[in-house]
C-alpha cells in the first residue's frame, strides 16, 4: 500500500509539473516595468490602442519597483519564466547579459530600423545590442522655483552667491526656514555631478574603481562645505525630504531627475530646468550620469512568439507614441524624427534637458557598477554624517569597491 501511495503521489506530481512550467499563450505578451504612475497611465492607454488594432492579442503590463523588477526578473528568467519584455534603465543590462537572461537584439532588427533611433538609445554591451530605449536621460538637472530664482546659477561661485541670498530665516527664530538647494544625500547617484565637476569618475576603462582620486576628496569636501560652512543646504535630506522641501517652497532649488519635473508642475510650482553649474576651479561642468530607459527581450521568449513581442515593441517605439509621453512628462524621446520635432526643439524644459544630456556621461552598464554604488554609499553618508573625513571616505570607498567587486565576481 505504501508503494502504491508513493506511485500515486508521483503520478499526481507528473501532471502538476507541466502546469508549473512557462505558460505560453501565443497571443499574450507580458511587460514588466518600473514606470511611475503617470508613465504607466500612458503605457496602459497605448497598449489598449494596440489591442484594439489587433483583436485577439492581449498585452499586459505589470509594475515593479526598480530593485524588485531586477531581482524578480533574474529569478523568473533563470527558472525559464518571466515576462516577454522587461523595461528599465540601461544599467540593468550588465548583470542581465552576464546571466544570459536577455536576448541580443542586433539580429532581430534591421540596420535601417535601428538607424531611426539616436545612437544613445541603443545599449550595446560586450558586442551585442541588448536594449532599445524609448526615453533618454534619467539624468539629474538643476530644477528651480521661478518665483524664488530668476536666473539659475551657471557656476559654483554663482551658486554660493545666490545661495546666501536664498537661504533665509523668515520668522527670526534662529532656524533656517528656506534653503537655497536640496538633494538626496543618501544615494551616491546624486553625488556624481559633483565628482565629475572636479574631474573624477567612478571607474576606469577596464571597469576598475577609481574612487580614491583627488577629485573624489575635493567633491566630498565641496558638498560638506555647502552644508557646514556656507549652510545653504539642509543638514539632512533623503529623496523624500528634499522633494517635500522643494514642493513646500522650503528649498528654492533641487537637484533632481527628469522623472520629477511633471510632478512639480502638477504640484503647481512654476519650475525652470537648468543645466548643472560649472566648477570654476576645474573649468568642468557638473556632469550627471545619463542613461537610456528601454526594453529588453527575455531569453525565454519562444521563436514562435518572438515576432508578436517585437511587433509590440515596435509599436511602443513609434515617434508619435514617444512624443505623447514627451508632451505629457517632458521626457526626451529617442527616435530621430521625434527628437527633431518642433515640440522637442522649442520646449524650454526639453531644450535645457538636451543641453544637460549633452553635458552628461553615459552610465556604465557593467555589472560592477552595482558594487561601486554599494561601496560609495557608506563613505558618502559617513562624510555627511561627520564620522569620516573626505580623504578617509575616499580611501574606504576604494577598498570596499575592490572587495565587493572581488566578491561579486568570485
Amino acid at each position: 500500500m505504501r508503494n502504491r501511495t508513493f506511485r500515486q503521489i508521483l503520478v499526481l506530481a507528473f501532471f502538476l509539473v507541466p502546469a508549473c512550467s512557462r505558460h505560453e499563450d501565443p497571443n499574450r505578451v507580458v511587460i514588466w516595468h518600473q514606470m511611475r504612475v503617470d508613465e504607466r497611465v500612458i503605457l496602459e492607454r497605448q497598449l489598449s490602442e494596440y489591442m484594439s488594432m489587433h483583436p485577439g492579442i492581449r498585452v499586459e503590463q505589470l509594475y515593479k519597483e526598480t530593485e524588485e523588477l531586477r531581482s524578480g526578473f533574474i529569478i523568473a528568467s533563470i527558472a525559464g519564466q518571466g515576462p516577454d519584455l522587461v523595461y528599465g534603465p540601461s544599467d540593468m543590462i550588465g548583470p542581465f547579459k552576464v546571466m544570459e537572461i536577455i536576448r541580443p537584439l542586433d539580429t532581430l532588427f534591421s540596420r535601417e530600423y535601428l538607424d531611426l533611433f539616436i545612437p544613445e538609445a541603443l545599449t550595446y554591451h560586450e558586442g551585442g545590442l541588448y536594449q532599445i530605449a524609448d526615453k533618454l536621460g534619467n539624468h539629474l538637472t538643476l530644477v528651480y522655483n521661478k518665483e524664488l530664482v530668476s536666473t539659475p546659477p551657471a557656476t559654483d561661485l554663482e551658486l554660493l552667491e545666490l545661495g546666501e541670498q536664498l537661504t533665509v530665516d523668515i520668522n527670526g527664530d534662529g532656524k533656517t526656514d528656506r534653503y537655497a538647494l536640496a538633494w538626496n544625500y543618501t544615494e551616491p547617484f546624486f553625488f556624481i555631478p559633483f565628482l565629475t565637476g572636479f574631474g573624477g569618475w567612478v571607474m576606469d576603462e577596464d571597469g576598475a574603481p577609481t574612487l580614491d582620486s583627488g577629485a573624489m576628496v575635493e567633491a566630498l569636501r565641496f558638498i560638506q562645505d555647502l552644508r557646514d560652512r556656507y549652510r545653504i543646504v539642509p543638514g539632512e535630506a533623503d529623496y523624500n525630504i528634499a522633494d517635500i522641501l522643494f514642493k513646500d517652497g522650503k528649498s528654492a532649488m533641487i537637484i533632481n531627475g527628469d522623472w520629477s519635473w511633471a510632478g512639480y508642475q502638477k504640484a503647481g510650482i512654476d519650475i525652470g530646468v537648468a543645466p548643472l553649474p560649472l566648477m570654476t576651479a576645474t573649468g568642468l561642468y557638473c556632469e550627471p550620469m545619463v542613461s537610456p530607459k528601454g526594453f529588453s527581450v527575455n531569453i525565454n521568449v519562444p521563436e514562435a512568439k518572438l515576432e508578436l513581442v517585437l511587433d509590440v515593441l515596435r509599436f511602443l517605439m513609434e515617434p508619435e507614441r514617444q512624443l505623447e509621453t514627451a508632451r505629457a512628462l517632458k521626457t526626451m524621446p529617442t527616435r530621430v524624427e521625434a527628437v527633431s520635432s518642433s515640440f522637442v526643439q522649442n520646449d524650454e524644459i526639453l531644450r535645457n534637458s538636451a543641453i544637460q544630456i549633452s553635458r552628461g556621461r553615459p552610465m556604465p552598464v557593467v555589472a560592477e557598477l552595482r558594487a561601486i554604488w554599494d561601496a560609495m554609499r557608506p563613505g558618502y553618508q559617513a562624510v555627511l554624517g561627520g564620522s569620516l573625513t573626505p580623504q578617509e571616505a575616499a580611501d574606504a570607498m576604494q577598498a570596499l569597491a575592490l572587495t565587493k567587486i572581488r566578491e561579486m565576481n568570485e
Partner: protein
C-alpha cells in the same frame, strides 16, 4: 480482495486525496525551496556562475564565519540579538500591560480603545516604516520637534548616527509589534475563569498576588508560543530595518542578519553565500525555538 480490504484501501485513498493537495503545496512552497537552498548554500552560485554553478563544499559557510566583511558577521549577529530581545521584550510587556487594562470591565468604550490599539498592526508595514522615517528627520521630523519644543532637549540625529538609527528602527518595530501580543494576551485573559479571582479575593489576595499566581500562569501557555513566533518574526523582520534605515544607513551600520542576506543576494548576486547565511539563521532560530519550548514546557502546558 475481500470487502474489508477494499473498504480500507478506499478509505486510505480518500485520506490521500484529502491531504494530497496540501502536501503538494507544502512541498512546492516550503520543502522544495528549503532543500534547494541547502544545495545552493554548498555551491558557488553567483553573478558569474548563475547557470554553470557547481558544488564547492562548505566554502560558503567558512566565508560566513571567517570572511572579513563590512559590516562584520559577528557584529551584525550581536545587533540582531539586541534587536530581537529588545523588540520582543517591549512587545510582550506593552502588549500584556495594555491587555490587562483593556480586560477591566469598568473601562467604558473598550472596543474603541481596542480598535485604536490594533491600528499599528493594521497599517501596511511599508507605509509605517516610511512614515516613521520621515518622523525621525533631524530638522523637520515630528520626533525632534517634540523633543526640542516640549521636552526642552536638544535634537537627536536619528538617521545620521549608527546607534540612533538602530534605536529608531527598534522604536518603529516596537510600535508595530505590540498589538499582536496585546490581542493574544487579551484572548488568554478572557479565557481565565472568573471563579479563580473570586476565590483569591475571599482568601484576601492582593492585586499583585492575583497577577502573579493566577493571571500570569494562566496566560503563559498561550504567550510562550506567541513569544516564540514573535522572536522568529522579529529576528527575520527585513522590512522595518530596510525601510527605516534605507537599506542599512548610515554606512551599512544598521543591518540585522536578514537584511545582510538580502543585500548579499540581490545587490551583489552572491547567491551561494546568501544561501549559506540563510541556513545559519535557520539553525540559530531552530535551536532557539527548541530550547525555549523545552525550557518553558510550552507544548506540554498547551497539551
Amino acid at each position: 480482495m475481500n470487502a474489508t480490504t477494499s473498504a480500507r484501501t478506499y478509505h486510505r485513498l480518500f485520506i490521500f486525496f484529502l491531504i494530497g493537495p496540501a502536501f503538494l503545496i507544502l512541498f512546492a512552497v516550503v520543502l522544495y525551496p528549503f532543500l534547494y537552498n541547502i544545495v545552493v548554500s554548498f555551491s558557488n552560485m553567483s553573478l558569474r556562475h548563475i547557470r554553470d554553478w557547481s558544488i564547492v563544499g562548505p566554502l560558503q559557510y567558512v566565508k560566513v564565519f571567517t570572511e572579513e566583511s563590512q559590516p562584520d558577521f559577528y557584529v551584525i549577529f550581536f545587533k540582531t540579538i539586541v534587536w530581537t530581545v529588545v523588540n520582543v521584550l517591549f512587545h510582550v510587556v506593552i502588549g500584556v500591560f495594555l491587555a490587562l487594562i483593556l480586560n477591566q470591565k469598568e473601562i467604558r468604550g473598550r472596543w474603541l480603545f481596542r480598535t485604536l490599539l490594533i491600528l499599528p498592526w493594521a497599517v501596511p508595514q511599508y507605509i509605517v516604516a516610511l512614515t516613521w522615517r520621515g518622523m525621525f528627520n533631524f530638522e523637520y521630523g515630528s520626533i525632534n520637534l517634540l523633543i526640542t519644543q516640549y521636552l526642552g532637549l536638544s535634537a537627536v540625529e536619528w538617521l545620521k548616527s549608527p546607534t540612533e538609527a538602530f534605536i529608531a528602527c527598534i522604536i518603529t518595530n516596537v510600535w508595530l509589534g505590540f498589538p499582536f501580543m496585546m490581542i493574544i494576551a487579551l484572548g488568554a485573559l478572557q479565557s481565565i475563569p472568573h471563579e479563580l479571582y473570586e476565590a483569591a479575593e475571599i482568601d484576601g489576595a492582593s492585586w499583585w498576588h492575583k497577577l502573579r499566581h493566577i493571571t500570569l500562569p494562566m496566560i503563559r501557555p498561550v504567550m510562550i508560543p506567541a513569544i516564540t513566533l514573535g522572536t522568529v518574526w522579529t529576528f527575520n523582520n527585513l522590512n522595518i530595518v530596510w525601510l527605516v534605515s534605507n537599506a542599512g544607513e548610515p554606512s551599512d551600520n544598521t543591518h540585522i542578519l536578514v537584511s545582510f542576506v538580502y543585500k548579499a543576494a540581490f545587490n551583489l548576486y552572491r547567491f551561494g553565500y546568501a544561501a549559506a547565511l540563510s541556513m545559519v539563521i535557520f539553525v540559530i532560530l531552530l535551536v532557539f525555538s527548541l530550547l525555549f519550548m523545552r525550557r518553558t514546557r510550552a507544548t506540554e502546558a498547551a497539551a
